[in-house]
Amino acid sequence: MRALARRWNLRPALGVTALILALVPWMLSNDFYYEIAILALFNAMIAVGLNLLMGYAGQISLAHGAFAGLGGYIAAILTGRYGLAPLFSIAVSLGIMALLAYGLARPILRLRGHYLAMATLGVGIIVSIILNNEEELTGGTDGMSVESFSLFGHTFTESWEWYLLAALHLLVLLWLAQNLIESPLGRILRSLHDSERAPASVGVNVARYKSLVFVISVVVAALAGSLYAFFSGFISPQEAGFNRSIELVVMVVLGGMGRLYGAVIGAVILTLLPQLLTSFEDYQTLIYGAIIIGVMIFMPKGIVSLFDRWRRRG
């Protein structure tokens, strides 16, 4: 399996992550801390999916906030308005989002670089405008409340239950993503990043695999978005806004593009950051912007690249 081994062997990392996730609850002394931890886990899920698209396959998306939010809205509306069981409405929501992503993939992924960034941004903004304006369904700018989440007759109310659910989701996702990356399919995705002609010349239908990874990343975003909507009991258009999409992209880049656990680290840091900055309330946006600029200038390969440097030395 040497061909598939990347700079880091990913297998132990999954175990370490599981261990950390098991230990964290001892640090979560109240519900508020739990809430932040759970949010970080859901963000990490979206970032891992987005990283498959951006970091590995090299296709930027400035719409993943919108996809996550829309997925959440669909699940929430199906449960709240049409009385579907939460599990079922999430499944339907993911199906709809997969179809939407598949339909968008061909025209959008023909574009590259700035054009791709702009097209995805346009899609994201249109989604958020729709969510803001369809008040009948979505509650408009004020958002809407979401029914509580129940599974096989059991209603999730305790924070630790949600933490467990989110952590399991993240671990399974990491395992699947790892398998994906270390496979012939993953090799195709990584080749797209460098040159589309190379894979095409050996028989790869490039458009098909771009669509596939796009659909996967959108479905993951929608799943995390739906679960988060049920967890927080409330969803607003901000969850699907432009800034949210940027935030997700920054998570991936901050952690390290094309590095599986980079996305997780980026998501955790960026989720904690606003909490750490609450005492600088007025300066929050300023500091956030400065961090993005600083990382892009001084650490363009992300935080994980620091570990590489340390490891090479050691």
């Binding site: 670089g113 702009m118 992209v249 920054v250 880049v253 007025d282 946006t285 912007g289 993005i292 200038i297």
Partner: protein, 289 residues
């Protein structure tokens, strides 16, 4: 008829501002290959600086010039930062300039405030009546100034040495450098020029729509849509793009739905990207394999 005409005038006024922002995008893009997502923040900066200079008791004209100059300086500052960036992949640059936008928004919040501000119209509150539709002096001023700026840029790019050098750089940076053109100078110039143009738009638009620290987001994105619609490689395409978007937006707001007016620019942009990625005026596809 009067109604239609009124919508057209509104559309043109806003369209010209989109055009100014869009031109800024293309000026920087052609000189450096960078899409500056902080372009809208230049518009915001122009308006906000003007507001606070006037509030600080500085007379109109010096304040006006100072606001433009400070914004241009901001452009230079952003260029300096971009120059520091070691990784120049497109994704990184996109995110870097998004970082600028967020930083500038945050800075405006801190340096100024979060309130909504407006400016007194330069030529007073009066208005013209054309075919029954009213057009405020300020809107007229926006259009006139935009036309002047477009004409000035046209002259600059076609007739002056520096302007021609900028065009040369956009066509073939390596050849341009061999011909003795300093790329750094061109880049600095493009950032400051784009910032200055945008700030004029911001200052002139403030009396009509008011301004606050967040106003740059939508203006920037719509300016970008204008640039894409007209074709990224052509500053004057962005003018046409801006006017088209402005007018379509006004028509949709007037006749169909004011809620969805903000989506118009992006729907048009997506259609252009899907079917004519080189812009409305291109003959060949761009960025496709």
């Amino acid at each position: 008829m009067t109604e239609l005409f009124a919508f057209l005038l509104t559309g043109l006024t806003v369209g010209f501002v989109y055009a100014l922002v869009g031109m800024g995008f293309t000026v920087i893009y052609n000189a450096s290959g960078i899409i500056n997502f902080a372009q809208g923040e230049f518009v915001m900066a122009g308006g906000m600086i003007m507001v606070f200079l006037l509030a600080g008791g500085i007379p109109y004209l010096p304040a006006y010039l100072l606001a433009i100059g400070l914004t241009a300086l901001l452009g230079v500052l952003l260029w300096k930062l971009t120059d520091l960036s070691r990784d120049s992949s497109q994704e990184s640059l996109i995110i870097l300039t998004l970082g600028y936008a967020i930083f500038l928004r945050g800075a405006a919040e801190v340096v100024f405030d979060k309130e909504l501000h407006t400016l007194p119209p330069l030529l007073g509150e009066g208005h013209l009546t054309i075919l029954g539709a009213t057009l405020s002096y300020q809107a007229l001023l926006v259009m006139a100034a935009s036309v002047l700026i477009v004409a000035g840029l046209w002259f600059f790019f076609r007739r002056t040495r520096t302007g021609k050098a900028m065009i040369a750089v956009s066509l073939d940076p390596d050849a341009a450098r061999l011909m003795g053109i300093s790329l750094k100078k061109i880049w600095v110039l493009s950032f400051s020029l784009a910032a200055a143009i945008a700030s004029v738009g911001g200052i002139l638009l403030t009396p009509i729509t008011s301004t606050n620290y967040e106003v740059g987001i939508m203006l920037g994105l719509k300016g970008f849509a204008a640039a894409i619609t007209g074709g990224l490689s052509n500053p004057f395409g962005a003018v046409a793009g801006g006017l088209i978007l402005g007018i379509m937006e006004a028509l949709v707001a007037g006749y169909l739905s004011s809620e969805y007016k903000d989506a118009v620019a992006f729907v048009i942009m997506l259609l252009i990207l899907f079917f004519r990625p080189g812009g409305l005026f291109s003959h060949r596809g761009v960025q496709r394999v």
